[in-house]
């Protein structure tokens, strides 16, 4: 369990006392397999030094184009990937770390260890990087993920019941009877009624929307406090999509769940999210309250992104903003603003200085740009 004697990690100054997840300087690089012998020279900086928080019961939207690192961020948060550096802190996480067997130099060993790992902060947060074995399994009950493709995220050889009960069975929760009851309850909750008609069917007998509801039920069955939703509606049809989005909002109201809602669709993000973070090539370039960002975007990339969204109203004429070039891959990026090559308002400073830090421009609206 927690060890109060250990040093607290640096915590971002925030007045938000209700935060559930804190991300600090999170980075993830992937080696690029360029040559046969030259492995290890090039890295894709998929996620590069990002920090944010998600409050309890809050929906944070992570926006960006494909390849900007938003999915990787999501996977880091549920520990499907291990960060290269940085921390993911989660509230109410139980960390059981086996301390190394101490022989003579007890003091020496502990001091070395405490420097390396600060397990739980005084306000009950713990870095999920150190979760192993049983504590990892307990963490899994707390954090779940919903995937983009409802056709690929359900095992075609399992029945709906097996799929939904899988988290219970791998966590050894409840008897078979209880599991069945719990699954039925969840099916009811996500709107697959009556549950009996769905329990023993295979995914291919269900439509896309129904499958995504099954995926939500599976994520909800362990009563998690935090769900990473990776484009949960992008593969769904318009008329189905609204139902799924509304369901997720209802669940949030009911169970006070927090979401990290990853999407490329700004309109969907506006509908779903309380706050939005815009990512570009592994960096968060702008973050703030949803309406703030949509109505008053500051970063040139956000502005371009918003101006490019087609409006389902022929009377509105957009003023599209021109960007040069296309999205590249962040392989060994130069130490300058990531957006420099495409930015219409880039200056000398953007080229020579490091990537600008994410600065608060008031009322929780932060922008990473020198020229704003």
């Amino acid at each position: 369990m927690s060890n109060p004697e250990q040093t607290n990690p640096v915590i971002i100054e925030t007045d938000r006392s209700t935060s559930l997840v804190r991300i600090q300087n999170l980075s993830k690089t992937f080696p690029v397999a360029s040559g046969f012998f030259r492995k290890g020279n090039s890295f894709i900086h998929a996620v590069d030094d990002i920090s944010f928080e998600v409050g309890e019961g809050e929906i944070l939207g992570l926006i960006g184009e494909s390849g900007c690192g938003k999915t990787t961020t999501g996977k880091l948060l549920v520990k499907l990937e291990t960060p290269t550096s940085g921390q993911v802190f989660l509230k109410n996480t139980h960390v059981e770390v086996k301390l190394p067997k101490q022989k003579a130099g007890v003091a020496k060993a502990t001091s070395a260890k405490t420097k390396a790992i600060s397990l739980v902060t005084s306000d009950g947060f713990a870095d999920i990087a150190h979760l192993r074995g049983r504590s990892l399994k307990l963490f899994r009950r707390n954090v779940q993920m919903i995937f983009q493709d409802p056709y690929e995220s359900l095992n075609p050889r399992m029945t709906i019941y097996d799929i939904c009960a899988e988290p219970l069975s791998v966590q050894s929760i409840g008897s078979l009877m209880e599991r069945e009851a719990r699954v039925a309850e969840l099916m009811d909750l996500v709107g697959l009624t009556p549950p009996e008609t769905f329990l023993f069917r295979y995914p291919h007998e269900l439509s896309g929307g129904q499958r995504q509801r099954v995926a939500i039920a599976r994520a909800m069955i362990l009563n998690p406090s935090f769900i990473v939703a990776d484009e949960p509606t992008s593969m769904l049809d318009v008329s189905i999509r609204t139902g799924v989005m509304n369901l997720m909002l209802e669940l949030r109201e009911k169970f006070k769940i927090s979401y990290l809602y990853i999407t490329h669709d700004l309109a969907v993000a506006r509908y779903m999210c309380d706050r939005i973070a815009v990512m570009y090539l592994g960096k968060i370039v702008e973050m703030g309250q949803t309406e703030d960002i949509i109505q008053n975007p500051q970063h040139p990339y956000t502005r371009a992104l918003i101006s490019a969204v087609p409006i389902p109203d022929p009377s509105v004429r957009r003023q599209p903003m021109e960007l040069k070039g296309g999205v590249t891959k962040p392989i060994n990026p130069k130490p300058r603003c990531r957006f420099y090559e495409r930015c219409p308002m880039a200056t000398q400073r953007c080229a020579t200085s490091d990537h600008p830090p994410l600065e608060d421009k008031g009322s929780g609206h932060s922008v990473a740009c020198y020229e704003v």
């Binding site: 049809d237 318009v238 087609p310």
Partner: protein, 386 residues
């Protein structure tokens, strides 16, 4: 002047599970230089519609009935090429004669002889004769057209931008060569050098470096492939381009650029376009007319402005109100209950009635037909919104 007229078109295909009524009695027409958007959810038959127009159907599919008239201005010297085909002759306006559908049997001097279809009558109707000067337009019916003849209509008359533009390049050939292949098939008199010059021009037009011609598809990014597909669609100067989800796989900024370019090229070359998409916002940006499809049927067809201001069909309204908006007020979206219909056993009567908030008894029994609601707007509904 009409370019394409689809009349009462039905296309079904047969699968293990049964007969899929993918396109059912659809009809619309398209003027020259006009752009039409077809919008609908997946499985509503919009892609089947596109493939039917080009008759690119799999073996298990069949066009059951209907006509696809591809109109050309009548020119006496090309009349011979139409001999023996099903045509729809449209006389000059001033003439007062009705347009006639039938098989072009003979050309006698300055006259065309058309054998009208029997249409259930026991006796074959007598041939109708038209003099050259009477005829304004000849519509070639693509439905009964032989495959070899149809091959000449494809790409030269109607070309297509595919849904999976990423995969519509053969990976083993250079992109330029694949465009060249189409040009050599349809314009055999053009030399290789001339064609290559033309491809270079097209590449510039869609914003690609002409040197990319010599590259292989896997060296292109997604957006570049899409641009090259547009260049290929333009290569034989078609009169109509069907764009099936042209930007679905692309990111929003690239999508925006490509849509603007397509619209500009269409205006510039005065071409007709049919855009097909599930995204009503994209369709609204590029088309002048919008057709809404649901369950294999066209449920509403109207000018873009009209359809947004005064939708007549409940489905159109539901479709638009379930789209979250980026501009304007944020409001709770109303979800449409139920699931899209299964086209193997669609609901009786109006196919939308199980999900429709305005459904009445008549909707369950009788299939509504397209009726004019106001000028420039038709809808198929028993209880239209206006």
């Amino acid at each position: 002047m009409a370019l394409l007229e689809v009349k009462d078109l039905s296309m079904h295909y047969w699968t293990r599970k049964g007969e899929v009524k993918a396109v059912d009695e659809v009809g619309f027409s398209l003027e020259k230089g006009e752009s039409l958007g077809l919008v609908g959810e997946s499985g509503c038959g919009k892609t089947s519609m596109a493939l039917t127009l080009l008759k690119l159907l799999p073996e298990n599919a069949k066009i059951l009935k209907g006509h696809i008239f591809f109109y050309k201005e009548f020119q006496p010297q090309t009349a011979n090429a139409l001999l023996g085909e099903m045509v729809n002759l449209v006389p000059q306006k001033a003439n007062g004669r009705a347009s006639t559908l039938g098989r072009l049997t003979r050309i006698e001097g300055e006259k065309l002889l058309v054998q009208p279809a029997r249409n259930g009558a026991t006796k074959a109707p007598s041939p109708v004769s038209f003099s050259f000067s009477e005829i304004a337009q000849v519509g070639l019916d693509l439905v009964p057209l032989r495959e070899e003849r149809m091959q000449r209509v494809r790409w030269k008359g109607i070309s297509m931008i595919f849904q999976a533009a990423m995969n519509s390049w053969n990976p083993v050939y250079r992109v330029g060569d694949q465009i060249l292949e189409a040009m050599q098939t349809h314009l055999p008199k053009t030399s290789v050098q001339q064609s290559k010059k033309r491809i270079a021009e097209l590449f510039q037009m869609v914003g690609l470096d002409p040197r990319m011609m010599e590259r292989y598809p896997h060296e292109y990014s997604g957006g570049m492939k899409q641009r090259a597909v547009i260049a290929m669609a333009l290569s034989c100067d078609p009169e109509l381009i069907i764009a099936d989800e042209p930007t679905t796989a692309l990111d929003v900024i690239v999508q925006d650029k490509i849509l603007r370019e397509m619209r500009q090229i269409q205006k510039q070359l005065h071409m007709s376009m049919i855009y097909i998409s599930h995204d009503i916002a994209v369709i609204a940006e590029v088309s002048e007319k919008i057709g809404v499809m649901y369950g294999g049927k066209l449920v509403e067809l109207a000018d873009t402005q009209t359809i947004f201001e005064r939708p007549a069909h409940p489905y159109t309204k539901a479709l638009m109100s379930s789209f979250p908006n980026l501009k304007g007020e944020k409001k709770k979206l109303e979800a449409l209950p139920g699931e899209p219909p299964d086209l193997i056993s669609p609901p009786t009567g109006c196919r939308f009635h199980p999900r429709c908030p305005y459904a009445t008894e008549v909707c369950k029994e009788k299939d509504p037909v397209l009726e004019v609601r106001q000028p420039g707007q038709v809808a198929a509904c028993w209880n239209p919104l206006h």
